[in-house]
Amino acid sequence: MKNRLKVLRAERNWSQADLAEALDVSRQTVNAIENGKYDPSLPLAFKMAGLFELAIEEIFFPEEGYA
């Protein structure tokens, strides 16, 4: 799964630590999601969508060939 988390975070001038605190997760988790090493659970994805005021599919999208 790919995502636009890094871009969205940069647009708001947030650090990984700021985002982690807002989502109540560790900075390590934010980093792993941004780098595509880990796909978040649905509740966490919804939390992110709520925080950025976007739909989930505007943040996360499938790898090519899986759409």
Binding site: V25, S26, Q28, T29, K37, Y38, S41
Partner: protein
């Protein structure tokens, strides 16, 4: 910094210093008991060193993934385990009956139980990725331990000497550490 923040920081400092002093005092006591020097020196020296360390890590917290209160819990449980194990060795040296020796052998288990309970609490407070990392680390650790312990059993049947069962715990800890490092690297 507002008043409530100052109060919170002071409380944190007191709790950290108390916890590390207690752990230091227990370690000092253990050294004094094992190396046969005055126990009061061991306790006071250990407590002093622990207090200094607690003060230092509160004023300048180390970069950790986990909050300090969790470290305090683990330290307290480990201290309890240490004291229970020490009491066990002390009582065994007191020339007691065989049935009493069996009962006393249960003592360290309470300490181990406290450590397991604290680790359970620590795992419950992790976020989803950290839980996955721990689960994978434990699974890898279990697999490696099974290979080592089971493998040694085969060599034992073939003639190698019996080894202390406590060594299996050491192997498990080492295997868990390997699993943890591997999963941390994987989700870096």
């Amino acid at each position: 910094m507002n008043t409530s923040q100052v109060e919170k920081n002071n409380k944190e400092l007191i709790l950290n210093v108390l916890t590390t002093s207690l752990t230091g005092a227990s370690l000092g006591l253990l050294y004094a008991y094992g190396l046969e020097f005055r126990m009061l020196i061991g306790v006071l020296g250990g407590a002093g060193f622990g207090a200094a360390l607690g003060f230092r890590i509160t004023r300048k917290p180390p970069r950790m993934r986990y909050p300090l209160y969790m470290l305090r819990r683990v330290l307290l449980a480990a201290t309890f385990m240490l004291l229970a194990s020490m009491l066990y060795s002390y009582l065994l040296d007191q020339g007691i009956s065989q049935s009493q020796r069996y009962w006393i052998s249960i003592l360290p288990l309470f300490g181990w139980g406290a450590v397991v309970y604290t680790i359970g609490l620590a795992i419950a407070s992790l976020d989803e990725l950290q839980r996955r990392i721990q689960t994978e680390a434990i699974a890898i650790g279990f697999a490696i331990s099974a290979i080592f312990v089971g493998g040694y059993a085969l060599f034992q049947f073939a003639g190698l000497p019996d080894i202390n069962l406590g060594l299996a715990l050491l192997v498990m800890s080492g295997a868990w550490l390997i699993g943890k490092l591997w999963t941390l690297w994987r989700y870096r």
